[in-house]
Subunit: 350 residues, 4 copies
C-alpha cells in the first residue's frame, strides 16, 4: 500500500505489557505510523530492548513516564494501560488527540453496568458518551468518525463476530447462548502472578471467572444491540497451556425452521468481503494455531446431535484480532487508510 501523506506520529501508553509489545510489532511494519513515544511507569528510562528483547534494533524511543510525554509531537495515542487507571489518563490528554484504548474502561456504554461490574463509579462519564466500541467489522462507520475508540476485549471479539450476524438475521434464539471459551495465558498480562507461572499453567486446564467474568456484560451489550432486546449469555472462560489464541465454542438453539447450513450461509455472506474474517468450508474445524500472530478470525458452523441446535466455533489470536491487531485495524479506519495496512502478517505455524 502506498500512503502518500506524512507519517502519523503515534504514542503507545503502557508499552511494557504484552499488548503494548504486540502493538509495537505491528506498528513498526505499518507504512504510515511512526512511533514517537512509549510509556511504562515502572520501566521508565529503559530502552525497549531491555524490556522486550525481540523488539531490539528498530530505533524505538526509550520508555518514559506518561507525564514526560511531549504531546505536541503526538498525533495519535494507543492506550494499553491497566483497567481502572485509564479513564483518568485519557481524560487528561490534550483534546485534539485521537485515541484507541485497549482497556475495558470505555467498553460498556452504560456507566451503571460499568459500576456494577468494576466496583467503582466511572471516572469519565462524558468521555464514555463519546467513546465508540471498536468491533471493526460491526461498527466500521462509528469507528471512522470517532475520536475515542474502545477496543473490544479478546473474548468479546471472538464471540461477537459470529453471533451478531446470527442474531441480526434472527437465525438463533437469543436466550439460549452458551459460550465455552478457551484462552492462552497472554490474555492475563505480563504482571507477575503465581497463577500464571509456567508450573501452574502447563499440563492442565481449568475454568475461571465462571458466570462472573467481566467480559460477559461486554458480550451481552453487543448481542443485545444485535437482537434488539436484552440478551444474557452463559460465558465460561478456561485457561489453556498456550501463550496465544482463543477458541470460542458456542452452542446455540436455532429459530424454528432454521438449519445449521443457514447459519453457515449467513456468516459466509456477511463476511465475504471482510479481509480478516474467514468462514471455513463445511466440516473444517478452526484451530487457534492457524491464526497465531495474525489478525484473522476463523469460524465455522456444525450441526449438533441435539435437534434444533448448532455449534459455532471461532478462533482468533487474543493479542492480535483480540487486542493490538484490531487496534491497528481501527487506527486504519479512523485515519482513512487501507484497513489491512500493517496487518498483512501471515500466521506463524508451527
Amino acid at each position: 500500500m502506498a500512503i502518500d501523506t506524512a507519517p502519523v506520529r503515534v504514542a503507545v501508553l503502557g508499552a511494557s505489557g504484552y499488548t503494548g509489545a504486540e502493538l509495537m510489532r505491528l506498528l513498526l511494519r505499518h507504512p504510515a505510523a511512526r512511533i514517537v513515544a512509549l510509556t511504562g511507569e515502572r520501566q521508565a528510562g529503559k530502552p525497549v530492548a531491555e524490556v522486550f528483547p525481540h523488539l531490539a534494533g528498530h530505533g524505538l524511543p526509550d520508555l518514559v513516564k506518561i507525564e514526560d510525554v511531549r504531546w505536541d509531537g503526538v498525533d495519535f495515542v494507543f492506550c494499553a494501560l491497566p483497567h481502572g487507571t485509564t479513564q483518568q489518563v485519557i481524560a487528561g490528554l490534550p483534546k485534539g488527540l485521537k485515541v484507541v484504548d485497549l482497556s475495558a474502561d470505555f467498553r460498556l456504554a452504560d456507566v451503571d453496568t460499568y459500576a456494577q461490574w468494576y466496583g467503582h463509579a466511572h471516572q469519565a462519564p462524558d468521555l464514555q458518551r463519546e467513546a465508540v466500541y471498536g468491533l471493526t467489522e460491526v461498527n466500521r462507520e462509528g469507528v471512522r468518525n470517532a475520536r475515542l475508540v474502545a477496543n473490544p476485549g479478546c473474548y468479546p471479539t471472538s464471540s461477537q463476530l459470529p453471533l451478531i450476524p446470527l442474531l441480526m438475521n434472527d437465525l438463533i434464539q437469543a436466550d439460549d447462548i452458551i459460550i465455552d471459551a478457551k484462552s492462552g495465558v497472554s490474555g492475563a498480562g505480563r504482571d507477575a502472578k503465581q497463577a500464571n507461572l509456567f508450573g501452574e499453567v502447563a499440563e492442565g486446564i481449568h475454568a475461571y471467572g465462571i458466570a462472573s467474568h467481566r467480559h460477559a456484560p461486554e458480550i451481552e451489550q453487543g448481542l443485545s444491540l444485535a437482537a434488539g432486546r436484552p440478551v444474557l449469555v452463559n460465558f465460561t472462560p478456561h485457561l489453556m497451556p498456550m501463550s496465544r489464541g482463543i477458541l470460542s465454542s458456542i452452542y446455540v438453539r436455532l429459530r424454528n425452521g432454521v438449519k445449521p447450513a443457514d447459519l453457515h450461509a449467513a456468516l459466509a455472506e456477511r463476511y465475504a468481503r471482510e479481509p480478516f474474517v474467514r468462514v471455513l468450508p463445511e466440516g473444517v474445524a478452526p484451530h487457534t494455531r492457524h491464526v497465531r500472530g495474525a489478525n484473522h478470525c476463523l469460524m465455522n458452523v456444525f450441526p449438533d446431535r441435539l435437534p434444533g441446535r448448532a455449534i459455532v466455533l471461532s478462533v482468533i489470536d487474543n493479542l492480535v484480532k483480540g487486542a493490538s491487531g484490531q487496534v491497528v485495524q481501527n487506527f486504519n479506519v479512523m485515519q482513512g487508510y487501507d484497513e489491512t495496512a500493517g496487518l498483512d502478517v501471515i500466521p506463524v505455524f508451527p
Copy 2:
C-alpha cells in the same frame, strides 16, 4: 492393605501403548497382582525397558505375541488392544479367565448401535451379552460378579460420573445436555500420526469429531439408563496441548424449581463415601493438573448467568480414572480386594 491370598497372575495384552504402560505402572505397586505376561505384536521380543524406559528395573517379562502367551499360568487378563481387533482376541481366550477390556469393543450393549458407529457387525455378540460396563461407582455390583468387564472410555467416565446422579434424581432436563470436553493428547494413543506430533498440538486448541465422536453413543447409553428414556447429548471434544487430563464442562438445564445448589448437594451426597470421587467446595474450580497420575474425579457445580441453568465441571486423568486406573479399580472389585488397592497414588504437581 494386607492381602493374604496368593498373588493373582495377570497378563496385559497390548502393553506397548500408553494405557498399557499406565496399567503396568499401577499393577507394579498393587499388593495382589503379579504381571506374568505382556504382549505387543509389533514389539514382541523386546524388553519393556526398551519400549518404556520409565518402567525399567522392575523385572517385568519381555513383550511377546499374543499367540505365545501360556494361558495356564494366567488368572486375569487386561486387554488394551486397539478397537476392532479385541472382540476376536477375547473370544479366543480360555473361558475361565476374567477379563477387563479397555477398548470400545464391548461398551455398547446394543450391537446395532455398535455396528452403526463402528462400521462393521459386532464380532462376538454372545460375549457382548455377557459384558458388564465398568463405570465402577455406578455399576459396582454388576462388576463384582462379571467375568468380562468393558472399561468405560475416558470422555464417558468424566461426563457420566456427574450426570448420572443428576438424571437419576430428576434434577436436570435430559434433552438439553451440552458436554464441551477438553482432552490431553495421550488419549489419542502412541501410534505415529501426523496430527499428534508436537508441532501440530503445541500452542493451540481445536475441536474434533464434532457431533460424530464415538464416545457420544457410549455417554448416551449411560444417561439413557439413568433417565429411564432415550437421551441424546451434545458432545464436543477438543484436543489440548497437554499429555494427560480431561475437563468436561457440562451445561445443563434445571428441572422446574431446582437450584444449582441442589445439584451440588445431590452430588456431594451421592459421592460422600466414594474414595475416588470428590465434589469440591462451593466456588472451587477443578483443574486437571490436580488429578495428574491419580484415579480421582473432581467435580463441582456452578450457577449459570442464564436463569434455570447450571454449569457442571468434572476432571480426571484420562489415562488413570479414564482408563487404566479404573481398570485396576474394577479388578479390585472383581477380586474382592479393597477398591483402592494399588490406587493410592497422589497426583504429581506441578
Copy 3:
C-alpha cells in the same frame, strides 16, 4: 516394608512451595512418618487443600506460622524455607530435633565461600560445622549419624553423582569439566516472578546465571573432595519449558589411556547396588521424562568425536532426587529405615 516402631512425628517448615508440596506427597505414603505440623508464613491459617488442591483429602494439618508450632510434639523437621532465612530458624529450633534442610544455607562447609557467594556472613557457623552434606550415595555414613543434614541442590545432585566416582577413580582430568545443565521451571520456586510466567518460559530456552550460579561452588566443593584438590568447573544452567527435570550434559577430558567404556564400567560398578541410581546400557540416552515423579538418577557415558574426551549424561527429577525425594532418602538413613521407604514411586509418563 514393615516398620514396627511408632510413627515419627514430622514437621515441614515452608510447606507452601513446590518442594514442600513434593515432600508432603512423598511423606503421605511413607510407612513411618506422620505429618503433624506444616508452616507457611504468608499462608498461615489456610488448609493445605487451598494452597495445593492436589493434596486434598489426606487429613493434613492446616498451615501455621513457625512460631505457632508446638515443638514438643515433633520428632523430625524438614526445612524448605528460602535461602538466607533458614540459618536463624534452624538455630532457634529445640536442640534435640533432627533436621533435613532443603535450602542452600548449610551446604557450603566453608563459611567464607558462603559469604562470598551469598553476600552476607553466615548466621550460624556453629551449626555449619555440625551440618552434614546429604548427597546420600556419596555420604551415607555421615548422614546416618547426623543431626542436621544439608540436602544438596538439584543441579549439584545431578552432576556430582556421575562425576565423583570418575574423579575418585582418577579417570578424568579435574581441570576440564564442562557442565551444561537444563532444568525445568519448578526449580525456580512458586513465588510470583515475571521471568517464570508461562508466556516467558514456553516455546524457548536460554542460559542464565552463566558462570555465576550459586550451585557452582557447591558442585566444586564435592568434586574437590573427590579429586583431593581444588576443582573449578564450567557450570552453565539453562531454563527449559517444562515443569520438572534436569539433564546435565557433562563434557570431560579423559586421563591418559582411559577410554569412555572405562567410565561406563566404573559408574556401573559404583552404582550396581544403589536403588536410585541406574547406569543405562551402552548407547541409550537418558530422558528427564523417564524419571518424572521418581527418585531416580539415570546416567550414561558416550564417546566424543574429540579424541581423549567423553560425554556424560545424567537426569533427575529436580523436585525428587534433586530435592524432596533425596530428603526422604536422607530421613530414611538417619532413622535407620529401609532407604527406599516412601520412595517406591514409579515415574509418570507421558
Copy 4:
C-alpha cells in the same frame, strides 16, 4: 523496497513439510517472488489450505507431483525434499534454473565424506562440484554467482556463525570446541514418527545423535576452512519441548593471551553491518523466543569460570535463519535484490 523488474516465478518442491510452509510464508510477502508451482508427492491434487490451513486465502497454486510441473514457466526452484532423493531430482531439472536446496544433499563438498555419513555414494558429483554452500554471511560472494546453492543445516548455521570469525581471527583453539545444541521439534520435520509425538516430547529433554549426528561433518567442514586445517568438534544435539528455535551453547578454549572480551569485540565488529546477526550487549543472554519467526541470529560471549576458556551462545529460529529464511536471503543475493527483501519479519513473542 522497490523492485522494478518483473516478478520471478518460483517453484517450491516439497511444499508439504514445515520448511516448505515456512518458505511459502516468507515468499508470499516477498516483493519480487511469485509462487507458480508447489509440489508434494503424497499430497498432490490438494489445495495448500488443506495441508497448511494457516496459508489459506493467498491464491497459492495446488500441490502437484514434480513430474507435473511445467518448467518453462519457472525461473527459480526452492527444493525442500527429503535428504537422499534430492540429488536425482535436481540433476533432472532444466539446466537454466537457479536452485536453492534445503536438503543435506549438496552441503558436503567432499563426496567421500558424504558417502561415509549418508551411507551411499553421491548421486550427482558433478552438481556437487558446482554447488555453493549458502551460509550467506560467510559466503556471500560465492552465493551471488551460484546457480545451485546448498542451504546450510539449522545446527550448522547456529554454530558456524559465531565460530568462523573466532577461528579466522585465531582467537580460539581449533581442537577444543564443544557444541551443546538444543533444538525445537520442527527440525525433525512433519512426517509421522512416534518419537516426535506430543506425549513423547513434552515435559522433557534428551540428547540424541550423540557424536554421530550428520550435522557434525557439515560444521567441521566450515570450521576447517576458517581455521585453515582439519577441525573436529564435539556436537551434541538435544530435543526440546518447543516447536521452533535452536540454542547452541559453545564452550571454547582461548588462544594464549586472548580474553573473552576479545571474542565479543571480534564478533561485534565482524557482524556490525550484517542485517540479520546481532551481537548482544555484554551480559545479556540470547533467548530462542526472541527470534521466533524471524531471520535473526543473536549471539553473545561470556567469561568462563575455567581460566582460559569462554562460553559462546547463539540462537536462531531453526525454520527461518536455520532453513527457509536463509533460503530467501540466498535468493535475494543470487537475484541481486536487497538482502532483507521479504525478511523484515519481527519475532512473535510471547
